[in-house]
């Protein structure tokens, strides 16, 4: 028995902020004290709060340390582990708390969260099947072995679970279709391709609780009558793949995978297939083609995978997060419990990745129906640097933006669709006034344009033309007709493309036109980008009243465009200025203004 469990976040976010070296320093320090074997040290799953990483949580003491560096380990070991005293300096102390706080329950970031699929993340050792089982793991599956397959489908339907991979189709219904499709051979496929830029919820689950995915797949296999599954995982997720492999071998060893599982005559095998890297390979038919060794390109549906999927056999394909919900639903009474969370049409919780100009970036799991305001201000801690909120992009490159007016919109599948966004995989990118909405649309479209597989005409040709128009507008060459052309092109692409990529990729453009039309008009008619992003559409000017002549900007400017005597107001040579924005960052007086080209300043940054 160990005295304490030391959970260091070993997910990709914290690893990139240095959790590996923290771990090494910790080990060294423990060894120095000769107390290494008293503690169980785990590089665990992601507790979500990447903003404050690397994170170390100590159980059973329930202490949450953050922003750690290797150097901190000396004090931490000596004081906390040896001395039994909390190191206050390393506790969480954000602007949203009055005094440093010691555990999850008192950190505002976690206050409105509800852990379902992340309930094991950061708590258990993802490489230990025993810890998973200790926390109730595989109990739902053993229950599933004893009940009828259609009853399982029915329970999943009752829970109200909808697919977390984007389209939000009823999971129970999907299972039932596959269950009822004729044929002896069926497949379960887990979509772990997570291609949205900035999304990492699936990765966190895979890395933090891989057995939950296996259990979800096993239950699905039981429910649809399948004995073989595939996990299609991005090759860029080596840690996830490694943990899945470990989990599979452990489950095999425990007789939870393989032949005649637990003596119930149920067989199941899981294969891992590494993804080819294209965004569109996350689309289910392209994904199946890719597993089959063909070009990862979508095909028309119907037939849906439930009728004719992998190798032409009935197939259920589910997203990682969808599957992670399954063990909770299929345990005794789980469906009803699950259905209590959320709204009428969207049940349960959803994991979101918070990014952009928000204070608490990271991962959060919240009940469906929570409002954008709550997520952004309560969970997310508001906008960074005290700026104004402008919009939030929901659903990644296929989603749409939600403006200030809609901050109180509840987050569920249907409200989001109505507002012109989508749930998508759960990416939320928060923007403040320094974001140009036209440029934002251009950015997302340039992603989807590059990722268009090229099979169907509207998406292949249309996204290129839309991008060209947006490039023109942001480059200062927009025409008054461009808005109409964009709009009709966007609608036709949505209406006539083959797969979800084409059908959704105009969303960022359409929603920004819908909520920020004036910004487009300013770009086109006044050749002006109020956010100071589109380089051709503004100039920097130094506020002559406020400038103190400190020369900070002169030093920052890479092209020597700023001149002026010391202590005298400086000036920018418009001919030389490349709009790189380096001076703004350095000016302590906030006196570099964004102005219309050749006109007087009217909007300050």
């Amino acid at each position: 028995m160990y005295e304490k469990h030391l959970m260091i976040c070993g997910a990709t976010g914290c690893i990139s902020s240095g959790s590996r070296s923290v771990e090494q320093a910790l080990v060294k320090e423990l060894e120095n004290h000769g107390i290494r074997d008293r503690y169980r040290l785990v590089m665990g799953g992601c507790p979500g709060f990447c903003e404050v990483g690397p994170i170390l949580v100590i159980y059973p003491d329930e202490v949450f340390y953050c922003h750690l560096t290797p150097k901190d380990m000396v004090e931490l070991v000596e004081k906390h582990l040896v001395g039994g005293e909390i190191v206050e300096r390393l506790l969480y102390k954000g602007p949203d708390v009055a005094v440093p706080v010691r555990f999850y329950d008192s950190i505002p970031f976690y206050a409105k969260q509800k852990f379902n699929v992340l309930h094991n993340s950061g708590i258990i050792d993802p490489e230990s099947i025993d810890e998973y089982i200790m926390r109730g793991g595989y109990r739902a599956f053993t229950r599933a072995l004893t009940i009828d397959s259609l009853t399982i489908c029915e329970e999943v339907k009752e829970s109200g679970l909808r697919g977390r991979g984007g389209a939000g189709f009823s999971t129970g219904q999907k299972w039932e279709f596959t269950n009822k499709a004729p044929g002896p051979k069926k497949y379960v496929v887990c979509n772990a391709d997570e291609g949205d830029p900035g999304a990492f919820m699936d990765r966190s689950i895979l890395e933090g609780d891989p057995h939950a995915i296996l259990e979800g797949m096993l239950i699905c296999g039981r429910a649809i009558g399948s004995n073989e599954g595939y996990i299609y995982c991005r090759a860029e997720y080596p840690l996830a793949i490694k943990r899945l492999k470990i989990a599979i071998s452990q489950a095999l060893e425990y007789g939870l995978l393989g032949e005649n599982i637990l003596g119930y005559g149920f067989n199941f095998k899981i294969n891992i297939k590494e993804g080819a890297g294209a965004f569109v390979c996350g689309e289910e038919t392209a994904l199946l083609a890719s597993i089959e060794g063909k070009r990862g390109i979508p095909r028309p549906r119907p037939p849906f995978p439930a009728q004719s999927g992998l190798f032409g056999k009935p197939t259920t394909i589910n997203n990682v997060e969808t599957l992670a919900n399954i063990p909770l639903i299929v345990r005794e009474g789980g469906a009803a419990e699950f259905a209590q969370i959320g709204t009428a049409g969207s049940k349960g919780t959803k994991v979101f990745a918070l990014a952009g100009k928000i204070r608490n970036t990271g991962l959060c799991e919240v009940p469906m129906g929570i409002t954008f305001r709550e997520i952004i201000y309560d969970v997310g801690g508001g906008i960074k640097g005290g700026r104004e909120f402008k919009a939030v992009q929901a659903g990644g490159p296929s989603g749409g933006c939600i403006p200030t007016e809609l901050l109180d919109l509840p987050i569920d599948y249907d409200s989001l669709n109505k507002a012109g966004a989508i749930m998508g995989s759960g990416g939320l990118v928060v923007m403040d006034e320094s974001t140009c909405m036209v440029d934002l649309a251009r950015y997302f479209l340039s992603f989807t344009q590059k990722e268009s597989c090229g099979k169907c005409t509207p998406c292949r040709e249309g996204t290129m033309r839309m991008l060209e128009i947006l490039n023109r507008i942001t480059g200062g060459f927009g025409n008054p007709e461009d808005l109409d052309t964009l709009d009709s092109l966007a609608h036709s692409i949505k209406d006539s493309s083959l797969c979800g990529l084409g059908q959704t990729c105009p969303n960022p453009v359409l929603s920004t036109i819908r909520y920020f039309r004036h910004e487009y008009e300013e770009h086109i008619e006044e050749k002006y980008c109020r956010a100071g992003v589109c380089k051709a559409l503004f100039s920097y000017k130094i506020d002559q009243e406020r400038c103190t002549g400190c020369r900070a900007c002169v030093k920052a400017c890479p092209v020597d465009a700023i001149t002026g005597e010391k202590k005298e107001p400086h000036e920018i040579d418009q001919g030389r200025c490349t709009h790189c924005g380096s001076c703004i960052e350095k000016c302590r007086q906030d006196c570099i203004l964004i102005t219309r080209v050749g006109r007087e300043a009217d909007v300050s940054n």
Binding site: A278, R295, R299, P300, P302, Q449, K450, E451, S452, C453, G454, K455, C456, T457, P458, R460, E461, G462, T463, M464, R465, E468, T485, S488, L489, H491, S492, I493, K494, D495, S496, S497, L498, Q503
Partner: protein, 809 residues
């Protein structure tokens, strides 16, 4: 399953489940535009031009790939649909060079047509466009991928139908392209130049070189004809302008080739225009040919024939008929020879096929392929033995692929080489060369051992089973494995796959992979089919396709020494009397010499005069020099041909004949389908249709023949031939007719031996595997696109397709 009711453009329609919206609309004659849809290819749904509005659907729906659902309410030309189509067309046009003024496709370009239909003039979307270089390195066609709209039809045809796999999509996204791997040139790809991609490209991206600058579609007359190469008899539309053939397109409506061709049909017709064509009768004088008038030529022939007959008797004259002759020509030819008093008429290529022909006669009583080309695609299992169809009969090969692709047929390929079908075969048996008889016998034996044979069929329809069963029992799987070099399990699995299929077909070839024991192989295959009851039913049979376009026909026409038309034996008195009455001559009772006799015995055969119609025995027979010497020594050698062949150059008199496109006539393909080929252009110079030459000569010889044209000749054939009795030119108009067709209202016969074999009972024969010395395993001629089709080669070597031969040999 019950029918589905739905509404399209306010019209109610009832269709079967699984019908697509597009097909349902077509039932109502509603025209929905399509680019990427092709009924024989896997659903694609790429171009999106066919989108329609389905009420309550979130987006527009691609009609070509979406099956109907009950109660659907569909609008195919709503404003929303039209908007989307306009945008799609504009997007295509934005990335498509608008060079319609010079594009060969103008007038039949679907992009143009739809832009016209929806009023898309030019594109409001300007921007980056493709800039790809032309691929015109090959002899046959130019690829301008800048015009490509990426519909994928060509890829589907090349991969799914042809199996050549020469092209695929390359790159992704906006810069997607179609072409050979690594964007090599077509010349360096696995392209077989079948032209299927060209014939189906909706725009002008693929253009045959021969049609460049030759004429606009609306200036071109389409003349329906039959491909002059192999026995499949593909239907083609000759493209005619200013009395010139300027191209060939396949006929989509023909059940024979359904829009398919191979390189010979698509590109091999240019020999028509070859400068080597004969344009005037020639008479050899002092060793050199001089042009003479037809009268002079006929006069000379008459004098000399009469002289030979007088001096050496009727039997000194021999007629050799080409399997490329039309039915009418072959009929008149044998009629002429017989009218001159002997039955000395035969065909050289028929002899090439003799072992197979005789074997089939022995087993079934008819030498013809048992079932139709069309049926092959519907069968449940196909055993391909010793045939490389991709080389010999590509269009039949497409059907084998179709059977596998669309009907899920199990494919068993037994071939000593890795032929193309191996890629899709379920069972590949790479047997040792020359061991096929052992293989087939062992399959039969295993089927009997396993009790998988069709006892009812054997009892009722066959004879000789018990002896066969006993004799074949020595061919154990173990023995066969030793002899063939194959694994025992593979042999068993293959035998089961063939035997358990509800309907199974065997495909072999009479002229490729030909071993010295090819007659035995055919008999062994016949046994296998008899054993499993795979005969006399639709899609269950034995396919031995002929190599020449009218090999079937000239035999039907009696260009054989022992039989008259329809295989009526010369030995039968009433037959002789019937013909004597009809022709007004007496028919010699003595069967004529076979061509084998003649060439074997040379001078000793007593032949002094020979009339060769379109044959080239000098290059066809193995012993070139002896043949040439024999022909040179004849008192009279008349050669009627379209070129100065090696044989013609030895002749005393050479008669210039019209080629297939220059005359009307019928040809009977390998599935007994009598097909009408129309005249497209005038023959060059003084050349004349073969039938007219023969009829004219008959007049000079004193016979009273009166034919206004081939149609009259055909009527005479029908009046004398049971199998052809119900056929006339009118009835042949669209799809031809398969004999037997004894009455004017008979629909023709799709497959033979229905209920009864031609010889009564099907006969099992005991055939033994005889290990052969290596040099006996003479595989006929070269590999490549041309096998031992001496006559086809006569044509192809005057065509651009000859370049393929040079490359391949």
């Amino acid at each position: 399953m019950s029918a589905i009711n739905l509404t399209i453009n306010e019209l109610a329609v009832e269709v079967t489940p699984g019908t697509t919206i597009l097909q349902a609309a077509r039932q109502l004659d509603i025209d929905i535009p399509t680019f990427c849809y092709d009924p024989e290819l896997a659903p694609n749904g790429a171009c999106r031009i066919c989108v329609v509005e389905v009420e309550n659907a979130r987006t527009l729906i691609a009609s070509c790939v979406t099956p109907v659902a009950p109660g659907m309410v569909i609008h195919t030309e709503s404003e929303r649909v039209i908007n989307a189509r306009k945008v799609i067309l504009s997007l295509m046009v934005a990335n498509h060079p608008l060079v319609c003024i010079t594009c060969e496709k103008t007038g039949e370009c679907r992009l143009q047509d739809y832009c016209y239909r929806y009023g898309v003039t030019d594109s409001k979307y300007s921007g980056e466009v493709k800039e790809l270089s032309l691929d015109d390195t090959n002899t046959f066609f130019v690829r301008d991928m800048n015009k490509c709209i990426l519909c994928g039809i060509c890829v589907g045809k090349c991969q799914e139908v042809v199996g050549a796999g020469a092209i695929d999509f390359t790159r992704r996204g906006f810069i997607s392209n179609v072409g050979p791997a690594f964007e090599d040139s077509i010349e360096d790809s696995t392209c077989v130049f079948c032209g299927l991609c060209i014939d189906n490209c909706p725009v002008g991206a693929l253009t045959p070189k021969y049609s460049l600058g030759q004429g606009r579609p609306w200036q071109v007359k389409q003349v329906r004809a039959i491909c002059p190469y192999c026995g499949i008899g593909c239907n083609i539309n000759l493209q005619v302008k200013d009395d010139q053939v300027i191209g060939v397109k396949p006929v989509k409506e023909s059940p024979v080739n359904r829009g398919h061709l191979c390189v010979r049909g698509k590109f091999g017709w240019d020999y028509l225009k070859s400068s080597d064509r004969l344009t005037a009768p020639l008479v050899k004088s002092d060793g050199v040919f001089v042009e003479v008038s037809w009268e002079e030529a006929f006069g000379l022939i008459v004098d000399q024939i009469e002289e030979v007959k007088l001096r050496c008797g009727d039997d000194a004259l021999f007629g050799l008929c080409s399997p490329k002759a039309s039915n009418e020509e072959a009929y008149l030819f044998q009629k002429l020879i017989r009218s001159l008093g002997s039955n000395n008429v035969d065909s050289f290529t028929r002899h090439c096929h003799a072992p197979a022909v005789n074997a089939l006669m022995e087993a079934f009583g008819s030498a013809s392929m048992t079932n139709s080309i069309e049926e092959l695609a519907e069968t449940g299992a196909i055993l391909v033995v010793g045939a490389n169809l991709a080389e010999s009969h590509p269009v039949l090969n497409y059907r084998v692929r179709e059977a596998v692709r669309r009907s899920g047929a199990r494919l068993i390929v037994a071939h000593s080489e890795t032929i193309d079908l191996v890629d899709i075969a379920h069972h590949y048996l790479p047997l040792r060369m020359g061991s096929a008889v052992a293989l087939v016998n062992s399959l039969a034996n295993f089927i009997i051992e396993e009790g998988l044979h069709d006892r009812a069929f054997i009892d009722k329809r066959t004879e000789g089973f018990e002896i066969f069963r006993k004799e074949v029992s020595g061919y154990t799987i173990k023995y066969a494995a030793e002899v063939t070099g194959l694994a025992e399990d593979e042999l068993r699995a293959a035998a089961r796959a063939y035997a358990v299929a509800e309907r199974a077909a065997i495909v072999s070839a009479v002229d490729t992979d030909r071993h010295a024991d090819s007659a035995n192989l055919v008999l062994a295959l016949a046994n296998l089919a008899l054993l499993t009851g795979n005969l006399g039913r639709e899609a269950a049979g034995l396919y031995l396709p002929y190599g020449e376009n009218n090999l079937q026909g000239i035999a039907d026409m009696g260009a054989l020494p022992g039989v008259l038309t329809g295989y009526q034996s010369i030995k039968e008195k009433n037959v002789r009397e019937k013909f004597a009455r009809a022709w007004g001559v007496s028919i010699n009772v003595k069967p004529g010499f076979t061509v084998t006799d003649i060439f074997k015995h040379g001078k000793k055969s007593g032949i002094k005069a020979m009339y060769i119609l379109g044959e080239n025995p000098v290059t066809c027979s193995g012993e070139h020099l002896e043949t040439a010497a024999f022909l040179t020594d004849l008192d009279l050698l008349v050669v009627q041909d379209i070129y100065m062949t090696e044989t013609a150059s030895l002749a005393d008199i050479v008669l210039p004949a019209a080629a297939f496109a220059e005359q009307e006539g019928t040809y009977t393909n390998t599935e007994r389908r009598v097909q009408l080929s129309r005249k497209a252009v005038e023959p060059p110079g003084e050349a004349f249709p073969g039938w007219a030459i023969l009829a004219e000569l008959a007049g000079w010889l004193g016979f009273d023949w009166n034919y206004d044209g081939p149609q009259d000749i055909f009527a005479e054939i029908a009046s004398l031939t049971h199998q052809y009795a119900g056929i006339d030119y009118e009835r042949l108009n669209e799809q031809g007719l398969q004999w037997p067709c004894p009455k004017g209202d008979h629909p023709g016969t799709k497959f033979l031996h229905n209920g009864r074999f031609s010889r009564g009972l099907g006969r099992f024969s005991v055939v033994d595997y005889e290990p052969q010395a290596a040099d006996n395993l003479s595989i006929c001629c070269s590999k490549g696109h041309f096998n031992c089709q001496c006559l086809s080669e006569n044509l192809s070597r005057h065509s651009v397709i000859n370049t393929l031969r040079n490359n391949n040999v």
